[in-house]
Amino acid sequence: MRTVAVGVKLSLVDQTKIVTAASELARNTLVYGGGGEVEVTRVHNDRRAGIRIVFADQGPGIVDLDLALTDGYTTGGGLGLGLSGARRLVDEFDIDTEPGKGTTITIVKWCR
């Protein structure tokens, strides 16, 4: 992950942000999703390169997404900063979740 982040020439601060966000989301995948898959890809648009990371689990899903994205809200005894904090650290943040089916979170960080 760090290697890809360095490969697309993210700044040191942006590398730190994306790896930290990934750490938060990977923990969620494990703790709440019961484990899952993580996929790291280099991405390009017409102007910039970036890194995309997808976290997918077949866990219980998120019932109230707005609540889950609120700072300080947690059902797992943590600080409640994982989802909301990770969203602030990346450029694009997308959640696809369905109760009973699982959760897929996609994050992207672009080179500046």
Binding site: V13, T16, K17, T20, E24, D71, L79, L81, G85, L89
Partner: protein
Amino acid sequence: MERVPVLKIGDILLVSIQIDMEDQVALQLQEDLAERIVATGVHGVIIDISALDIVDSFVGRTLAAIASVSRVLDAETVVVGMRPAVAITLVELGLSLPGIRTALNVELGIAMLGSRETVDVLGDEGETDPAVLTRE
């Protein structure tokens, strides 16, 4: 599992985290430090995180817990050596580590713990003065 060594120097326990801070490592460190504080009776703990290239909310929370536990055991904790990118990321994550004292490096951390003791001594003297006045 790898373990973070805890070194005693005078009245301070020094911890320099040089390995990946996995969850279990962080929790073990918290336990080790609490035990060493009680066993040695030190009044200061310095945690050097200059080798950590990320601090996520779990590690941040563990550092805060270590500081709280230390305080209950009469030892002050100073976290030193945080990298600039880590500081920026922590704040954006929403974790400003309230209750944790920080210094730029180990040397300044030791100075900070030293000055705390001086202030305490002055504070004690400050409390004696009014008593003396009362007696007069």
